[in-house]
Every structure is written in C-alpha cells, then in structure tokens.
C-alpha cells in the first residue's frame, strides 16, 4: 500500500511539476492576497502584526482551495477516475497518495506565504517549534479534507463554486485553532498556543481517519 500511495503522489507531483500552476500562479496570487489584506487594514503595521497569524491562514485557505480544485481537475478532465476504478490501486492508497501530493504543494505555498508575511507584515517568530507543528497539522488537515471534498465535487459542472462552500465549514476549526496557535508562536499572545496546536493535531487525525474510511464511497460509480 505504501508503494501505491507513493506512486499516486509521485504521479500528481509530476503532473504539477510539468504544469507549474502551484508555483507559477497560485503562490503569486496568494502573495497578492497578502498585499490586499494590508490595504484592508490600511497598512497599519501593529494591526498587521497582531493579525498576521489569522491572515496567514486566510491566504492559505484561498490558495489551498485553488490547489485542491486543480488536483481533481487533472483527474476528471481526462477520465482518470475511471482508470483508477479499474486499476488495482485501492481507495485508501489513492486517498493517501493524493493527500500526500497536496500536502507537499500546500506546504510549498505556505513556505512562500510565510516568507511573504515575515517580510511584509514585519513579524518575528517567538516559538519555532510551535509554528512548525501548527503549520504541519493544519496542512495535513487541509490536504485530507481537500482530497475528500475535492472528490465529492469532482466532475460536477459547478464545482468551482461548490468546493469552497463545502470545504470552508469543515476547515473552520483548523482556521480558528491555527490562527490562535500562530499568534502565540509569533509572540503576539501569550496563552494556550500549544493547546491549540494539539487540538489541530487531533482534528488532523480525525479527518485523516474519516477520509481513509469514506473515500471509497466517493469513487464508486453508478
């Protein structure tokens, strides 16, 4: 199963590497969002510093949704879902493989966004470990939810508007916990950062388990 998982992930990443949508389009767009958010807060540097944690996750949500969309568009456009159903690759491996590929892509996006925020919003990191753990847990939750809801809206005509509507409500706890954990990691707020980070780990685990079990239902045809 590990081999299958890696196979799927490598396939997705290779497709992505050739098209370079994530780095070429989504990351620059996410950086633009950071600029627009600064407009919204009137470039008030203390506000930006205070809100940096939350604004980071808003930008990740925006860019991540686009990446998720794309991860399934490349499958449905060529009828790949049918190929998967026929192949020997099981639903759990497919789920894990696609999640892994998304994890790498969203992780890269977050790297770009994190650097952007550090420079543009002038933040300093107070607790690197907390930052990394929270970011990793959030990215896992994003990826597995993304694969699950991406499969749910795959192949439907209005998926571009449907996916965010379905995705955001389930990601709310992650966005909330991520914002709070980052505030502590960036030294803006003293309390409870690790509590929030552990909540994120729990949520990520729950969503992974759900996806593992439920993904098969979404692939079944007719």
């Amino acid at each position: 199963m590990l081999a299958e998982t890696l196979l799927v992930a490598r396939k997705d990443l290779r497709v992505e590497w050739r098209a370079k949508i994530a780095l070429g389009q989504v990351a620059p767009l996410a950086l633009l969002i950071l600029v627009v958010l600064a407009f919204a807060l009137d470039a008030n540097s203390s506000l930006l510093e205070l809100g940096a944690g939350g604004l980071y996750w808003v930008a990740v949500l925006y860019g991540g949704t686009l990446l998720i969309q794309r991860s399934f568009d490349v499958e449905t456009d060529d009828g790949n879902m049918d190929a998967f159903r026929m192949s020997a690759i099981g639903a759990p491996s497919l789920f894990l493989g696609k999640s892994l590929a998304l994890f790498v892509q969203i992780g890269l996006l977050e790297l770009v966004l994190g650097s952007g925020i550090a420079v543009l919003y002038n933040v300093r990191v107070a607790d690197w470990w907390l930052l990394l753990v929270a970011a990793a847990a959030g990215t896992v939750a994003f990826s597995v939810c993304g694969v699950l809801w991406g499969a749910m809206s795959a192949g439907l005509r209005v998926r571009a508007t449907l996916l965010p509507l379905l995705l955001v409500p389930v990601l709310v706890p992650i966005l909330l916990a991520g914002s709070r954990a980052f505030e502590t990691a960036l030294g803006v707020r003293a309390d409870a950062g690790w509590t929030w980070a552990s909540l994120m780990l729990v949520i990520a685990a729950v969503h992974t388990a759900i996806g593992f079990g439920a993904f098969g239902f979404l692939l079944e045809e007719g």
């Binding site: 749910m152 439907l156 409870a192 509590t195 759900i210």
Partner: protein, 254 residues
C-alpha cells in the same frame, strides 16, 4: 409504480397527512395564543422571553432533523446494494429532513438575533452557540446545494450521504473549538447571555411549543419527501421519453 394511483385530488396529500396538516395548523394557532397572550412575561427578560417559545423548539427540531439526515444517510449507504430501491427511500428522507432542518436553523438564527437585540442590546455575539449554529446553517446549505446538482442520481446521493456523515461528525468539533475560543479569551461576555429560569406556565408553554413545532416539522418532512419522489419520477420519465424519441426517430413517429 405501485404507490401511485390516478385521480384528480391533491398530489402529495393522503388522508393521514391531511389530518396531520389540520392538526399542525391548530397546534400552531394554540401555540400562538399560549405563547403570546396567556403565558406571563418573565421577571428578568420581560416580553422578550416569548421569543424563546419559537427559538428553543426550532433548534431542537433542527438538530433532530440533522440526526435524521445522518441516520438515513448511514442506512442509505448500507442498503444501497441490498435493497430493491437501492436505498433511495433513505436518501429522500435524508434530503427532506435536511431541508426542513435548514429552515428551522434559519428561524433559530433570526429569532435568536432579535432576542439578542432586546436582551443583550446587540444582534450578534461571538458566543459558541451562535457561531456553531451559523456554521451548521451554512454546512447544510452546502449539503442541499450538492443534492441539487445535475448528476447521476445514485452517485450524487452517495456523495451527499458521505457529506452528511462528515458534517455531522464535524459539528461537535466546531462547537468544541469555538467554545474554547470564547472561554479562553473573554470569560466576562458569557454571563451576558444568562438564561432565565423557566418554570411553571412558561415551562409548560415551552414544552407545548416543542410538540406543536414537531407536528409542523413532521408534516413538512413527509410532504417534502413525496415531492422529492415526484421529482425523481419526473426525471426518470423525461429520460425515458428522450430515449424512446431517439429510438423512434428511424420510423419517423418522433
């Protein structure tokens, strides 16, 4: 189509549901009289307490409807291969319950905000219950949007069932995290929304209102279920007509 007979009477009504409908109207009328006129005003909240006779039963019904959606979704997923109708009975039940649940969640939000305006002096507070409710509302709006999309009915139903289950699992996670958010940072604001002591006549009015709202919701779910079945019949007939018109094209009979 064993369950459809030809006559000119009302489409989705039966003798039983007509009785239920009359009962629902009568119960609502009595609820209005009890809630607005007979029950006393609260010592602390004054007249605003009358809003709770709608607000509280509505959220109970909404949660009940979403539980029904989840249970039906499980039964649909389990029965989709064994049952003769491929589990579509449960799928319709899930869909109609979710829609009624969304209506009552909306009512909960509106009456809650109005109640908040007179009691707290503001329509909205970032209180755990309010935030969870509004997210619940949006989640199930998304579920209904998914159900409405043009797609293969069985595939769509299966996706909707999975979504219903995940959403239901997610409700406590959302509630827990939002609750945490508010209690970790703003302990003071929570005491503003203190609930009144509901006893005596107010208690009975609330209990009766719950019964009345349940009857109304049951009527709505049953009728919505029947309309969903009619919609399915129509879609199948349209499809059948389309296929036969293609087949008949050769001999020119259209």
């Amino acid at each position: 189509m064993t369950s459809v007979t030809h006559s000119n009477a009302k489409m989705t009504a039966t003798a039983t549901t007509r009785v239920l409908g009359v009962l629902a109207i009568a119960a609502t009328a009595l609820m209005t009289v009890l809630g607005l006129l007979i029950s006393p005003a609260d010592v602390i909240q004054g007249e605003a307490v009358r809003m709770l006779y709608i607000h509280v039963p509505s959220i109970w019904i909404a949660y009940g409807a979403f539980v029904l959606t989840s249970v039906s979704s499980i039964l649909f997923l389990r029965g989709r291969k064994r049952r003769e109708d491929r589990g579509r009975h449960y799928d319709r039940l899930a869909g109609s319950a979710a829609e009624v649940g969304v209506v009552f969640t909306g009512i909960t939000l509106v009456t809650g905000m109005l109640w908040g305006k007179v009691t707290w002096g503001t329509y909205w507070q970032w209180d755990a219950r309010l935030t969870t409710t509004v997210l619940l509302f949006v989640t199930y709006l998304g579920y209904l949007a998914l159900r409405r999309l043009p797609a293969d009915p069985i595939v769509r139903s299966r996706r909707a069932a999975v979504m219903a289950l995940i959403s239901f699992v997610n409700v406590p996670i959302v509630h827990y995290s939002v609750d945490w958010w508010r209690t970790l940072h703003q302990k003071a604001s929570l005491s503003v929304g203190r609930r009144p002591e509901i006893t005596g006549e107010m208690y009975w009015t609330l209990l009766y209102s719950t019964l009345a709202v349940t009857i109304v919701a049951a009527w709505l779910i049953i009728h919505r279920y029947r309309v969903i079945r009619l919609e399915e019949l129509r879609d199948e007939e349209t499809l059948a007509a389309l296929i036969s018109s293609r087949l008949d094209k050769d001999d020119g009979s259209n």
